[in-house]
Point group: C2
Chain length 300, copies 2
């Protein structure tokens, strides 16, 4: 299973980065291959100062060894070996009318002393963070997520959509980071679903990524914007930073387990603003966004 | 004691904000008075888009009530009442040759069921975060801190300087946030020092603040800077954000205890950049700063 999924994400990284380079038309991804002293490593690909993408990364990693102590506590297990691999991506577009996107799909294995798998599962998801709200873009994104889910189980979309809304919640601001998408974790083998079924599902979701996002980029990339709209994007990016550094388990986990800092923090936006007690004008497009983020919404 | 210290910080807020307005010459502090539903409140004063200060805040608060649960765990006590008051300030200057400064001085009381004080202490400190390193500025800042400390005990400066270096350490970057200053906490009554002695010491430190910082501002405010130097300041401000949101106990504490978000996060810089794997040119002034932050240094 691990070989199959690792081969899948390697291939998916290639597919996604070549398509995004084609969409951008100007910048190319730069690749950093790194190794983890305790075992494994990764292939980080970052794009900066593109025509479309101001900053972004599409990274894969596959790490293994003794489960770090902080992770032992988290999973409530004792000393054991583990393997984890996944693809993580974040794209921060230049144009404030194009939303930021984040996705992550991963596979995890834990072993007993004889090297036998004691537990294995898939996790991940994707979510959209717009700066201006286009209802049709939100619907397109959620519909693509739902279509991919529905091929596997009719309950998946409502369940993972709900979990996504609850995970990407900026508690200290009492608002959502964005308009959600999918979030799933601990997808293990069950009576009805084999690990292969789980894997097929996650690959289906991964394969749907470009279709969920690229049409939105194409639709919005030529819209003209003002300095004020760009400022608004940078202020909202501040909330993205707050979520990632204060709440995001993946980020904090990486920082605490001696992960590769630059690969983890590539998720942070290129330019960000914090203004004191800023709030948009009443009935503006900016206020419309804020209101939509105050309560999870059924887009479909 | 609480009345005396509260009166002191109220007065100190006035002294500091009027002097800083005079130094800035353009912008003025805007005041927000707020109340905490569970008891107490504060007076937040924020300056933005000044000639000198791009963003900054000088805030006081005095809160009381039942000790929040997260704080009970932190202090390892059970259900009890508390009182806490303090002054917090952060100033982010426009000119990258002027350092950012942070300071906080606070007093804390905990009570038994009869309202008797069971524990009380002072805490706080101040630290400097330059973007370019002027050795004479670092010496001036530390010397002013030391002079104030020495009036009370010859051991205070070396001890609190060391604690400051260890507290403001960005573990995930393996570098200091800045060039340090003072950090002290749990300054309680002892055999040799009364609570009044502790209070006198903290007030001495608070009184030395303007002298420790304003001469540096005056010395650097007219230095011309390039866009590249401004970019460098904004990149370094990213590390400031990382420290405050990932490591700073005061910030995380405020966010978890339902503090006033905008007063807590006024510490975040106005404009910030994150570039992937950025490192300055060899032997540049920027690299000189990085090297100085890799290991705490004795400035005096």
């Amino acid at each position: 299973m691990k070989d199959q999924f690792l081969a899948y994400i390697k291939n998916l990284q290639d597919t996604i980065t070549s398509k995004l380079e084609e969409v951008d038309g100007k910048a190319q991804f730069k690749e950093d291959v790194w190794t983890r002293p305790e075992g494994g490593g990764g292939r980080t690909r970052v794009i900066e100062n593109g025509a479309i993408f101001e900053k972004g990364g599409v990274n894969i990693s596959a790490v293994h060894g003794i489960l770090p102590e902080s992770m032992q506590e988290y999973f409530k297990v004792s000393d054991c070996d583990f393997f984890a691999c996944g693809l993580s991506l974040v794209l921060h577009p230049k144009n404030p009318f194009i939303p930021t996107i984040h996705a992550n799909w991963r596979y995890f294995e834990m072993y007993d002393n004889d090297g036998k798998i004691i537990s294995s599962w898939f996790g991940g998801g994707q979510d959209l963070t717009p700066y201006y709200l286009f209802k049709e873009d939100a619907i397109h994104f959620h519909q693509t997520c739902k279509n991919a889910c529905d091929k596997h189980h009719i309950d998946f979309y409502p369940e993972y959509k709900k979990r996504c809304d609850s995970y990407f919640w900026n508690t200290h601001r009492n608002e959502a980071r964005g308009i959600g998408g999918l979030f799933f974790d601990y997808l293990k083998e069950t009576d009805n679903l084999s690990l292969k079924d789980r894997c097929d599902f996650v690959m289906e979701i991964g394969d749907s990524f470009l279709e969920s996002y690229v049409p939105i980029v194409e639709k919005r990339k030529n819209l003209a914007y003002t300095k004020e709209q760009k400022d608004w994007q940078e202020i909202r990016r501040g909330r993205y930073v707050e979520f990632n550094l204060i709440h995001d388990k993946g980020t904090l986990f990486g920082l605490k387990t001696n992960g590769r800092i630059e690969s983890i923090l590539m998720s942070l936006p290129p330019k960000v603003q914090w203004r004191y007690s800023y709030s948009p004008k009443a009935k503006s497009e900016e206020e419309k966004l804020i209101k939509a983020l105050q309560k999870p919404k059924e887009w479909l």
